[in-house]
Symmetry: C2
Subunit: 352 residues, 2 copies
């Protein structure tokens, strides 16, 4: 019936009108009628003409009406075309730029930086910010320390990769003195200082299995303690994604139904789906945009997600982004996400 060529025959006027329509819809959030659009477009066309164009755009799947006699609103495909071909990205506001620069400074550890980036994204865009923690592929053990606690427990402090400090409590089979623990720590630091954590673990595990006879008592104790510290999974952080500003989403009309919100917030809490989505972006370059159902997760049905990977030393280590209603100001959001990614990468760089 209706012709549907693979490359849509969108003449310039139709494209322009689609663009004006989407910009208007993003501003107001209400279906745009032909009269309004005629006024907005300011190109001396009558509403009737606009209607004809709109009918074409609807046939091609770029716009739709919620019901017979309402105006038109963009479809997912419409947004997609808009974002890919029609959008002119705004330069980043100077104030925002300044804010990003000053707040993402170097004197913070990984966790704090990530949290701050998330807060900035949400604060500046007034939507929900999300940052995936950098995967720590190369985690070099810089230093390890033991401190005795009461009751056969030992506090272990590890410094990993320059700035990062981790600590945990382990149980040992007898009480050690501070001096003994210092010897053990010194031994481990000497043996493993600067080595990659994964490598350290492998050596330790091997050592524990074939008890070396050439080890003295203290070294054995040290290896045993280290065995507990480097238990397989414990080294990855559980908290691998950080959100901020979820409540901002309550301000948007289209997400305002309690049920929608609930699904959304539960998705935030579960983190799983979001994490998967972000994971997909690791291998892409630059800003990526998922519009509505494109994300593949029903919880995000009425939302768009704008992401960008950030890299340290030229290697992508994580992804950050913004989650908001499909009807978001893409031209403003894109540079914000882009810049935040760059600055976070820079701030995480240990060399600089």
């Amino acid at each position: 019936m209706s012709k549907k060529p693979s490359s849509p025959p969108l003449n310039e006027r139709a494209q322009y009108l689609l663009r004006v329509l989407i910009e208007r819809y993003i501003r107001d959030g209400e279906p745009v009628g032909s009269r309004t659009l005629a006024r907005d477009a300011a190109m001396e066309l009558s509403p009737a003409t606009i209607r004809n164009v709109m009918a074409d755009l609807e046939d091609l799947g770029f716009v739709k009406s919620p019901h017979t006699s309402a105006g038109r609103m963009p479809t997912v495909q419409g947004y997609r075309f808009f974002v890919d071909s029609l959008l002119t990205v705004q330069p980043l506001d100077g104030v925002d730029m300044q804010r990003l620069r000053t707040e993402l400074n170097l004197d913070l550890n990984r966790k704090d930086l990530v949290e701050r980036a998330s807060n900035l994204l949400s604060g500046i865009t007034r939507m929900a910010g999300v940052v995936m923690l950098p995967r720590r592929k190369q985690a070099a053990l810089r230093r390890i320390d033991f401190l005795p606690l009461s009751d056969k427990r030992v506090l272990v402090i590890m410094v990993i990769n320059e700035r990062e400090v981790q600590n945990r409590i382990i149980h040992v089979n007898r009480a050690y003195t501070t001096a003994e623990l210092e010897v053990a720590a010194a031994f481990l630091n000497e043996q493993f200082g600067g080595k990659d954590l994964a490598a350290v673990r492998d050596v330790i595990v091997a050592d524990m299995q074939q008890t070396h006879e050439d080890m003295n008592r203290m070294m054995k104790a040290a290896v045993e303690m280290a065995g507990q510290v480097f238990r397989a999974d414990d080294l990855q952080e559980r908290e691998d994604v950080v959100f901020a500003g979820q409540t901002n989403l309550m301000g948007f009309r289209e997400l305002c139904e309690v049920d929608t919100l609930r699904h959304l917030f539960e998705a935030f809490n579960q983190k799983r789906e979001i994490l998967h989505l972000l994971d997909q972006c690791v291998n892409a370059e630059g800003v990526q945009i998922f519009i509505g159902e494109e994300s593949g997760y029903t919880a995000l049905d009425e939302c768009s997600v704008v992401t960008a990977p950030y890299s340290v030393d030229g290697k992508v280590v994580g992804v950050l982004g913004v989650i908001g209603p499909t009807r978001m100001a893409y031209d403003r959001v894109i540079p914000i996400v882009d810049t935040t990614a760059r600055l976070l990468g820079a701030a995480l760089n240990p060399r600089e």
Copy 2:
């Protein structure tokens, strides 16, 4: 007109009926009519009689109708009387008890314990959990370490009060070697190890003002670095209250309006009001309950807050609690909050 004696002349039957009414309302969340109440009370009274009693209770301010021809529901004053005089607290469910015991164990640091307690409160009650971080009145410096970073920056690691590890990055006026920093750390550890942080700060500040001539160069550097580390406010943690399970509140009919939710969630984000409220509970003993407007914060208007202080070594160090709709199962929530407070206190105790 209506008699309003200060001690309400509530005979036993009226009290019993009030109790049944509130229990029913807590279960269903709908105004209770005279017929329903007559059936529930199972004391061979006709609805008409019940209605007379209800009229009295309404005069006294314990119940109200949302409109002329609906059933009755409790007022704040009604809940208050119920909680103070009519409630029989359920013993804590064995499964829940077990869960609390195993999850609040000793091998976690302060922050993790608090977070877990908050999650447990929210998970078991299916409402929002909140825990105020223990104020660290006596913070003894157990150990301090310096590690050089690139670019005149130094990573400082402090162990405070046995289990707690803090780290930050400071700027120094020249690059130090690892060896130099070790000397500085050793000096500080010897001078201040085991001392209270506040005291340490005072000494440092004094030292910095009147430059001792008997200090060698390294000691001066150490004091200077310590000066940066112990900058006044930075030692208190900014994150002084931890929430969990806010989304649970979206499940309750009475809080389901987006506006109400929004205010509530904003209050959680701001933290200020909640913090004030919790602060008031520090000096009280045992479980405290704020019903609806009693809290004095409009954001919590349709909510009740059940709190209990928790103590280490006999001294109250913080407060925890649960936030939910006024219509919550107080008999179940109270022992949960109570027990969690006890167990958190125990888990935080450094001696045990």
